[in-house]
Amino acid sequence: MGLDTLFVFLVLTSLILLGSSLLSSSIRVVALQGAVLSFLPFLVMEPGWAGRAVFLAALTMALKGIVFPTLLNRSLREANVRREMAPLVGYSLSLALGIALLILAFWLAGRLHGIGVGLSTLSLAAAFFMMFTGLFLIIARRKALTQVLGFLVLENGIYSFGLTVVGHIHWLVELGVLLDVFVAVFIMGIAIDHISREFDHINVDQLDQLKG
């Protein structure tokens, strides 16, 4: 029940991201999603892993709930661009496609049901839906910052997939993944900074006009 509510919440935050038009509120929603996700280790881990769960949860919370949003807000402020999403696919159509992706996620989850340890269809479907949403945001939004957000949502999906399916990945692996994500967000922030300084905008659809 608690687990179900958490996964429903994760799906809802992804849906909000598909329909949201402001960059700053999207950053807040991604932060919220990361913070909610950090409670997942408590709910899925076997008893006896308490210390590890607390450590992992605290680290996830600190990175996804606090560090990333701060970094992203900073690059949004520095880039000094219009604070709207500039979508390639409209918001209503994005939501409609989101419903289609949701159906696809549940269908896939139904096919894969039973491969992992004690997982529900919903947990798999939520993980798949977050991955799809992340990819969709990367493809369908124009601002470079939304690509970082899409990447983060994608990573959230993979993280919850890993936790629910495998159950106990070695903690070194998870630390490594978190470190990778941290470095990626850090570097993308710097890249956004450079793009905005060079071109007065962060629209990635114009980057194909670059000449060496």
């Binding site: 809802l12 849906l15 329909g19 918001y91 269809t121």
Partner: protein, 303 residues
């Protein structure tokens, strides 16, 4: 034949206009005004029914039939609506589809009557109304489908009274999502604030109000009463979904239901006081969000 469902229906017929009175009173109180009397809509209806009607020469019988058929359709929907946890006067398997299409018929004749006036202005309102309800209707039906899955029933009178505390414990997230989607649809379909403003007669943003501008006298009275009944039936569905208690004693159940309706009306008043109307281009997005919630709820019940 059991008389209790029919008594319930008469209570609904009498109390429906009061709902709008409560909403308006709540809005007035939040704004620091005294507001119109609670019974204002009754006075308006009485006044309108005594007036004569004026018909434009460009209109045909379609224009005159619109309000009558509209009211008849919503009465048909009321016949199928359970009174809180007690069954409706009329019930059979699959009546939820008929319920959705009674409301659809009401909308259809209102739109036809609006188009019949030949005014470009009313055509604009009709176009918006149809566009928005094309998004709201699937969300409503998906919510009903989800509830049918949860309660294993396919009649409104068994689905809604069948929602118990045990359902809320086992399928809580799905039921909450359906309730949220239905609240959005309730506000959209009844021309309440985040979608439409029932108070303004500002041309550019009106949806529902603009379609009935050419009606007057008894026709307008029928339309206003029909709108109050529509708010009642959709509110009744939402309230019976949200009150998972069932005593089995007629007057106790009725009291819980009427209390729920009162809270719903005050809640709508508070929503209208706290929010501004959405920009027209954002409305489809809101309805698409409701559709997404209902779809997610359905998938939660299907797993």
């Amino acid at each position: 034949m059991n008389a209790i469902p029919w008594i319930h229906m008469v209570v609904a017929l009498v109390l429906a206009p009061l709902l709008l009175g409560v909403i308006n009173r709540t809005k007035a109180r939040v704004a620091g005004r005294d507001g119109a009397p609670l019974l204002q809509l009754y006075f308006d209806l009485w006044k309108l029914l005594r007036k004569g009607a004026v018909y434009s020469r460009t209109t045909t019988w379609v224009f005159r039939a619109g309000p009558l058929i509209g009211l008849a359709a919503v009465l048909g929907a009321l016949l199928l609506t359970p009174f809180g946890k007690s069954a409706a006067p009329l019930r059979f398997d699959g009546d939820l589809i008929l319920f959705a299409y009674w409301l659809g018929l009401m909308r259809f004749v209102t739109v036809l009557a609006a188009l019949d006036t030949g005014s470009s202005f009313e055509g604009m309102g009709a176009s918006r109304e149809v566009f928005f309800s094309a998004l709201a209707e699937p969300a409503f039906l998906l919510g009903l489908l989800g509830l049918a899955r949860v309660t294993d029933a396919i009649s409104l009178s068994t689905i809604l009274p069948g929602v118990t505390a045990a359902n809320w414990l086992s399928a809580g997230p799905a039921l909450a999502l359906i309730a949220a989607a239905w609240l959005v649809i309730l506000l959209a379909e009844n021309a309440r604030i985040p979608v439409d403003d029932p108070n303004t007669h500002l041309e550019l943003t009106m949806i529902h109000e603009v379609m009935v501008l050419d009606h007057g006298g008894p026709d307008l009275g029928l339309i206003l009463y029909g709108a109050a009944l529509k708010l009642w039936v959709m509110g009744a569905l939402l309230v019976s979904l949200l009150t998972p208690v069932r005593y089995g004693v007629v007057w106790q159940d009725a009291l819980v239901f009427l209390g729920g309706m009162l809270i719903l009306a005050v809640g709508i008043g508070l929503i209208e006081s706290a929010m501004a109307r959405l920009r027209l281009t954002r409305v489809p997005q809101l309805l698409m969000g409701a559709l997404a919630l209902a779809a997610l709820a359905l998938m939660l019940t299907m797993k």
